[in-house]
């Protein structure tokens, strides 16, 4: 895409999101959105960010991280901490308050940037020792890391400790959630189609061969991991500052990381479309099963577990495999024109 078209797309996307945000917050004419549905839609956006970012390291690079909740916690707590303790001062600099659109947006941008940076730093610290090695070490180290983070948070009273960060100021809104989901999708898609992404695909295929081709495998893996962690941090920052949705060490545990993995496994490991679909299904499904869940506590997780095992045995590539929804595919369906060449990374695996 050339620059003017890019700017046009960004402008158009922003305008649509702002308009939708307006509908979300103030309604449209007589129409007021049900706050319950609004909440689910917001959570879908956050989970899409989480799943697509995990997909970068687990799907594209073929590594296996099972501590995504840890990075979400680092980013989320950093961002929320900033807004709670310095947000008012920052908004005052712009002559505004946190409840105002200008002040809130300013605090959002700064806190998300800080959260993403903190999560990226954590990703670097975790990634360097574990990604130098081949094999399953990343899995166990990321799992350990997320546990360490949980224990640390439990011991910091300034962020609420075991009761959760209930002092959080709700500055997250529909606009920011979906803007960040879009940004995540675009970033991961662009990585997938770039030289860097092709190097990651080679590493996924055969690490020794990739090294023989002159790819610095550790560097590529660590970079992908750091970007993935930063995006998870953004998701955490959004989640922690969403209305009445405080961060809690109890919710940012192993089970949360597994949920994100189930999302991408269900959708198709390596497919951005799949991660998005998986995130949506796994956000809506538990809500639909809520009464069932209350009747048989724990059965939802049993269903997840069986889903994982059966998927691995009968359809290890997930629902969509590596298939991607692309403009050219849409175009070919809508105008009955043959698609212009293989789309996205899918071409690499054929």
């Amino acid at each position: 895409m050339r620059l003017p078209r890019k700017l046009l797309a960004i402008g158009l996307g922003t305008a649509v999101l702002v308009a939708l945000n307006q509908v979300f917050e103030h309604g449209f004419g007589n129409f007021q959105i049900n706050p319950y549905y609004a909440r689910i839609i917001n959570l879908i956006g956050i989970n899409v960010t989480l799943a697509v970012s995990l997909n970068l390291i687990n799907g594209l690079a073929g590594q296996f991280s099972i501590g995504h909740a840890g990075f979400m916690a680092v980013g989320g707590y950093t961002a929320t901490y900033f807004t709670v303790y310095h947000g008012q001062a920052l908004a005052a600099l712009a002559g505004s308050t946190l409840n105002d659109a200008v002040g809130g947006s300013l605090a959002m941008v700064v806190s998300l940037t800080l959260g993403a940076s903190a999560a990226a730093l954590a990703g670097l610290v975790v990634g360097i020792p574990s990604l130098r090695l081949r094999g399953d070490y990343l899995a166990i180290v990321t799992l350990g890391f997320s546990e360490i983070i949980r224990v640390l948070i439990l011991n910091i009273p300034a962020v609420g400790g075991a009761t959760g960060f209930t002092d959080a100021i709700p500055i997250t809104n529909f606009f920011w959630i979906f803007a960040m989901a879009m940004v995540t999708i675009v970033v991961v898609r662009n990585i997938a189609t770039s030289t860097f992404g092709h190097a990651l695909a080679t590493i996924r295929g055969d690490e020794i061969a990739a090294e023989a081709m002159g790819i610095n495998t550790t560097r590529h893996k660590v970079l992908a991991f750091v970007i993935s962690a930063a995006l998870a941090g953004v998701a955490g920052g959004l989640s922690g500052q969403l209305f009445a949705n405080p961060l809690n060490p109890q919710n940012l545990n192993f089970v949360k990381s597994i949920e994100v993995i189930v999302m991408i496994v269900l959708g198709g490991i390596g497919s951005i479309t799949g991660a998005t679909v998986g995130a949506t299904i796994l956000t809506v499904l538990p809500e639909a099963l809520r009464s069932f869940d209350r009747q048989f506590p724990g059965l939802r997780m049993v269903v997840y577990a069986l889903l994982l095992i059966l998927m691995m045995i009968f359809r290890p590539q997930g629902l969509l495999g590596r298939w991607e929804l692309t403009w050219s595919w849409l175009g070919s369906r809508l105008w009955r024109r043959p698609a212009a060449g293989p789309a996205g990374t899918a071409g690499l695996d054929r």
């Binding site: 180290v141 997780m301 691995m312």
Partner: protein
């Protein structure tokens, strides 16, 4: 000095538990190169199997050593069976797929046992019957309960037994051959499916023994008890050198000692983080583990 020895004893008995579980991780990893995430949950099932057996034998009312041994062996047999079933119906179908597929399956099995356990046994903790009367021995101010002593003795016997099985018996030779190269072992006429099933049975039986031992010392059991303990035991296996039997023992004891030592200081709330911090350090400086040897991956 007295407190030092007291902590040493406490650390040893905690470490012996980690070591018993770590042995199972290390054997399965040695043969299949698979982190069997469900192993910690087999340990939990071992404790529950012991619970039901002990109640069936009414050992709570009349504690006896013979009954305790019967319960331990029964629980080991049940878990060996469960281990074989897990291998047969979850891991074998995905064995020829990528390692990622096996790993996700392992996580799935682990979740299934944990939450299936919550559905079947209920989430509230249960209290393990007192199968042997608690006694406290005192050596110059250092106190040790008969349960802790039992744990340490059982762990040491099991390790020597395992070393014997792996290095001195025919099935052990087959295990080592399978671990070295699965397809070549198959070409040499080794029934690798049987060897792998045997490895799972043996590892699961050890985990069950660990489960019953722990339940004797700390009688609170619940379906999620295997999660943290299992993870730490895996860290112990990596610390000692994964695939290495004495390594698992050394790693388990080291982690047990460190946790007990930290638990006695002002930083006791950070106890759960120790094992994982050690893991990150060991991967930085000696990725093959303390007793492990680095291998070069050939094309």
């Amino acid at each position: 000095m007295e407190t030092f020895f007291q902590q040493l004893i406490n650390g040893l008995s905690l470490g012996a538990i980690y070591a018993l579980i770590a042995l199972g991780y290390t054997m399965v990893y040695g043969v299949l190169r698979l982190i069997n995430f469900a192993h910690g949950d087999v340990y939990m099932l071992g404790a529950f199997a012991g619970y039901f057996l002990a109640n069936a034998l009414q050992l709570d009312a009349n504690p006896s050593v013979v009954g305790t041994i019967a319960v331990t062996i029964g629980s080991m047999a049940i878990c060996a069976g469960i281990g074989v079933l897990i291998e047969r119906f979850a891991y074998r179908p995905v064995r020829h797929h990528s390692r990622l597929t096996s790993l996700i399956t392992a996580i799935g099995v682990s979740l299934l046992l944990e939450y299936g356990g919550q559905v079947v046994f209920g989430a509230t903790p249960r209290f393990f019957p007192q199968m042997i009367r608690s006694r406290i021995y005192s050596f110059g101010g250092v106190q040790i309960t008969n349960q802790s002593l039992l744990i340490i003795v059982v762990a040491v016997i099991v390790m020597f037994g395992l070393e014997f099985v792996v290095h001195r018996t025919k099935i052990g030779k087959a295990m080592r051959a399978t671990s070295f190269n699965l397809s070549v072992a198959k070409l040499m006429g080794i029934n690798t499916d049987f060897v792998i099933a045997f490895t799972f049975a043996l590892g699961s039986a050890l985990a069950a023994a660990g489960g019953v031992m722990v339940a004797l010392a700390i009688p609170r059991i619940d379906p999620l008890m295997g999660l943290m303990t299992g993870l730490k035991a895996f860290v112990a296996a990596v610390l000692g050198g994964i695939g290495n039997i004495p390594g698992a023992m050394v790693g388990g004891v080291l982690i047990g000692l460190m946790e007990t030592w930290l638990g006695a200081t002002a930083y006791s709330t950070y106890r759960d983080a120790v094992a994982f911090s050690v893991l990150i350090l060991i991967l930085l400086f000696r990725p093959a583990g303390i007793l492990g040897t680095a291998t070069i991956e050939k094309v």
